[in-house]
């Protein structure tokens, strides 16, 4: 099936262009980029060169499904392929899948696979690999946080060597977009559980070496099925924790590209000559988890009161130095086609105080957990606790290492911050976080009556207008009762030398090396 056929079948009446709406952000053309310097292509891509790519954290694991770090996902994006990738409008475009056909109203999807593709080991890519990959992603014990990466899949079967049939638990209109997800890389059936030791993908780069904590090197795959998008001879990822050292490395010509840099560094270098600065709106945000299954947040009035404590505009100005946008407690940034008209939550301390008094929970004294490993959340937490103290709410700031936070705080304490990156589908950005049975709903509550049913209807709806309508209902419900506050969305911030060409600031967290080249 061709892409135009897909357009006709997948969402009747929806053109390829308007498929933009299928993305959970739905804002690719609605939000203007704020790059410090415009990226101007310099002639035709030049082949060759090794990109030295620097980021603060090394991969936690080389297992493409188990990884929970952006560096791990960036690595897997180089070495592995997805079934589809997303274009600038968040539309699915063929990768290892060449066509996708919805059947039974989107409950089943027949996916045709590309022929003639080989893994780096030399073994041919077939439907057995896709089946093995998806089945692994359905087993949380084997796939960890990658569990559910392919969406609400009930089963998958091979239909010959070059086609697979997905049977979903519910109709899922955004299914092809979901296939581009960060943890939905296609893995080889052989050795699928040992990929952290023996990486083997179909991607444009072949794993060469990983020095834990220091560097990761990949080399160009000379047999890549789409050589037009591979310009580099290789990529060397290096890891520098200290931002001053990162800055020195870029200025000293030791690295070419820095990603996810602190805002202070972006501001310090954004006007430096010989470098490009990138600041782009994303769907990345910090959430304040006010756990609805624990006191005092099991009281709806307390949850509502907490919405009026923080001065969000001041927080964006002082914590993000303007490199972000105010949030309104829903996981979609301003400009998304799925957002209804809603009143922006503003700081209103008298109202917050009155709501707490009406709740009858008595004086509130809580530990507010955050981690300096997830900047700039602690600054926001400090601002929050200072504002709360003005209405008699005592929030003791507890800044702890991330490992301790992951073990003892997340899902276990009533009040803490968490970090979320933008996603291309409503399934990942909304359903997986707010449905009471979903993995990322930490409190496992339905924060307002009937929310689960609305969330199920939202992802099942294949008609865009109807999906918009039900999603707007969901957003209103989340805005009024969800047990997560979303005070701001963070911009993606990065820097490169002038010779880095074809770099596109990532909308969904991970840098794409396909298309990047180095000028002379």
């Amino acid at each position: 099936m061709s892409r135009s056929e897909f357009d006709d079948l997948m969402i009747p009446g929806l053109s390829r262009r308007t498929l933009l709406g299928a993305g959970a952000l739905g804002v690719a053309s609605g939000l203007l980029p704020r790059s410090g310097h415009a990226q101007v292509p310099v002639g035709a891509p030049r082949k060759g060169g090794v990109l030295r790519f620097c980021r603060p954290d090394p991969p936690d694991t080389l297992d493409p499904q188990m990884t929970n770090s952006f560096s791990g996902m960036e690595y897997s994006q180089m070495v592995y392929d997805n079934l589809v990738s997303l274009d600038a409008d968040t539309q699915p475009v063929p990768m290892l899948a060449t066509a996708w056909t919805p059947e039974k109203g989107g409950l089943e999807w027949l996916v045709t696979l590309r022929e003639g593709v080989r893994f780096h080991s030399g073994v041919a890519f077939t439907s057995a690999d896709v089946v093995a990959t998806v089945e692994r992603a359905m087993d949380p014990a084997r796939s960890g946080v990658g569990s559910g990466a392919f969406g609400p899949v009930a089963s998958i079967t091979a239909e010959g060597p070059h086609a697979v049939r997905f049977v979903l638990r519910v109709p899922f209109g955004e299914f092809p977009v979901q296939l581009a997800f960060r943890q939905a890389r296609i893995l080889p059936a052989a050795g699928i559980d040992d990929l952290r030791n023996t990486p083997n993908g179909t991607g444009p780069f072949v794993f060469k070496e990983f020095q834990p904590g220091s560097s990761l090197t990949v080399e160009r795959n000379p047999n890549y099925w789409n050589p037009d998008v591979v310009h580099l001879d290789g990529v060397r990822m290096v890891f520098i924790r200290e931002s001053v050292s990162m800055q020195a490395a870029l200025r000293g010509g030791q690295v070419d590209l820095l990603t996810q840099i602190p805002v202070e560094m972006y501001l310090a270098m954004s006007r430096a000559r010989g470098f490009k600065a990138y600041s782009e709106v994303t769907g990345d945000y910090h959430a304040i988890n006010i756990m609805g299954n624990m006191a005092p947040f099991d009281n709806l009035k307390v949850r509502e009161a907490f919405r009026y404590i923080l001065d969000r505009k001041a927080t964006v100005a002082s914590v993000l130095f303007g490199q972000g946008a105010v949030g309104n407690d829903v996981p979609l940034p301003a400009g998304s086609i799925y957002l209804p008209e809603m009143t922006q939550s503003e700081q209103d301390l008298p109202r917050a105080k009155r709501l707490i008094e009406e709740s009858g929970v008595g004086p509130i004294e809580l530990d507010f957990f955050t981690s300096s490993d997830r900047q700039p959340a602690p600054k926001m937490v400090l601002a929050f606790s200072q504002a709360a103290s003005q209405i008699g709410v005592t929030l003791r700031v507890r800044d702890i290492p991330y490992t301790e936070y992951a073990a003892n705080v997340s899902r276990k304490k009533p009040l803490y911050t968490s970090y979320w990156s933008g996603s291309a589908t409503l399934f990942d950005a909304v359903h997986r976080i707010y449905h009471s049975q979903s993995l990322y709903n930490y409190s496992k509550i339905e924060s307002s009556p009937g929310l689960d049913a609305k969330l199920d209807a939202m992802i099942a709806e294949v008609d865009l207008e109807k999906r918009k309508a039900v999603t707007k209902e969901v957003m209103r419900a989340l805005n009024s009762s969800a047990d997560r506050l979303i005070p701001y969305f963070r911009n993606y911030l990065g820097m490169s030398t002038d010779k880095v060409q074809g770099f596109v600031p990532p909308r969904f967290g991970t840098v794409e090396m396909r298309g990047i080249w180095l000028s002379a």
Binding site: P58, D60, T61, L62, M66, N68, S69, P140, A141, G144, V145, S147, R196, N197, E209, F210, Q211, P212, G213, S214, S215, V238, F239, I240, R241, E242, V244, S245, M246, Q247, A248, A249, R251, G252, Q254, V255, P401, Y402, T403, E404, Y405, A406, A407, N408, V409, S410, R411, S418, L439, Y440
Partner: protein
């Protein structure tokens, strides 16, 4: 004979210390909140996922069984595999140990003679300008954390005056001597830290020695000043100074966590930082054991040197 007994006794003590350190490290890391399963899976994982991964990694087994298994491996020269990455620890450790040793030995080679010289110079005319300058520098450097000195060094020499690389950015299997320019700032920061302590120990010892009767006798005999200082006073000052330098031997092998992390230098300290972040117990155990051994051997060598320098101790 006495010296031999002394050395043997210290060797036995060193082995006992290493056993104690390994037990303590194992216990402490297990008491810390979180383990490699929670660290790798992160806050998004459900308790069921964490349990499944923990079981697969063998973290659900009793502590003593895991410890004894690890000890058995070490006695056979096998440090095991990293829980986080699955790679064998021994080769990883060796490469990084070599890098840390190079950084440490260069630091010692520069800092030890320089700090002794500064200490002697300061002691020659206590209270005078040179002494005050050296002592003020030493106290200031000692008061300032290595992290701050390192940041200032990067700001000054890599960003404001782009003369030297602010990051070493080398791999564990890369020979740092091939890129001497990348060693300048880390070595400089470490030397400043060492100068502060050793020069002051030397200065204090030298002031005391220069006021002693045997030095006055040597001076009254008409010996030149340099001979009095270098041949009569200095040998008596060296034992405590050498002991202090011995303490630094262990430090420069495995205690360079801050400098190695700041300069992205692929040494033991950087490996340990990463391992602790991920609660990678076998890697932490192996690293701590090596560092403890380096401290022990450094102290032993310092004691032997002090023995050789001080005839009274030789009996």
């Amino acid at each position: 004979m006495i010296a031999l007994t002394f050395i043997l006794r210290r060797c036995v003590m060193l082995v006992l210390v290493l056993v104690a350190v390994s037990v303590l490290t194992f216990g402490i890391v297990n008491v810390l909140p979180g383990d490699v399963a929670t660290a790798v899976l992160g806050d998004m994982a459900s308790p069921e996922m964490v349990e499944a991964v923990r079981e697969r990694m063998g973290l659900d087994r009793p502590l003593d069984a895991r410890y004894l298994e690890w000890v058995g491996g070490v006695l056979h020269g096998d440090f095991g595999r990293s829980l986080q990455h699955g790679q064998p620890i021994a080769p990883m450790l060796l490469g990084r140990l070599g890098n840390s040793a190079i950084l440490g030995l260069i630091t010692l080679g520069i800092a030890a003679p320089l700090s002794i010289a500064l200490g002697v110079l300061a002691a020659l005319r206590p209270g005078h300008l040179l002494d005050r300058a050296i002592s003020s520098f030493a106290v200031g450097a000692h008061a300032m954390p290595e992290y701050v000195i390192g940041l200032l060094a990067i700001l000054c020499f890599s960003i404001w005056l782009p003369l030297l690389p602010g990051s070493s950015l080398m791999d564990p299997n890369e020979n740092p001597l091939n890129r001497p320019e990348a060693l300048v700032l880390p070595v400089g920061v470490l030397v400043i830290g060492m100068l502060a302590v050793i020069s002051q120990v030397t200065r204090a010892g030298m002031i005391q020695a220069l006021g002693s009767p045997y030095v006055r006798t040597a001076t009254l005999k008409g010996l030149p000043r340099w001979k009095v200082v270098l041949k009569h006073a200095l040998p008596n000052v060296l034992p405590p100074t050498v002991t202090e330098i011995g303490m630094y031997c262990g430090y420069v092998i495995g205690g360079l966590v801050v400098v190695e992390t700041l300069f992205s230098y692929a040494g033991l300290g950087q490996m340990m930082t990463n391992a602790v972040s991920y609660r990678d117990i076998p890697t932490i155990q192996a690293g701590v054991l090596v560092v403890a051994a380096a401290y022990g051997i450094g102290n032993l060598l310092a004691d032997v040197a002090a023995l050789l320098l001080n005839p009274r101790l030789r009996g």
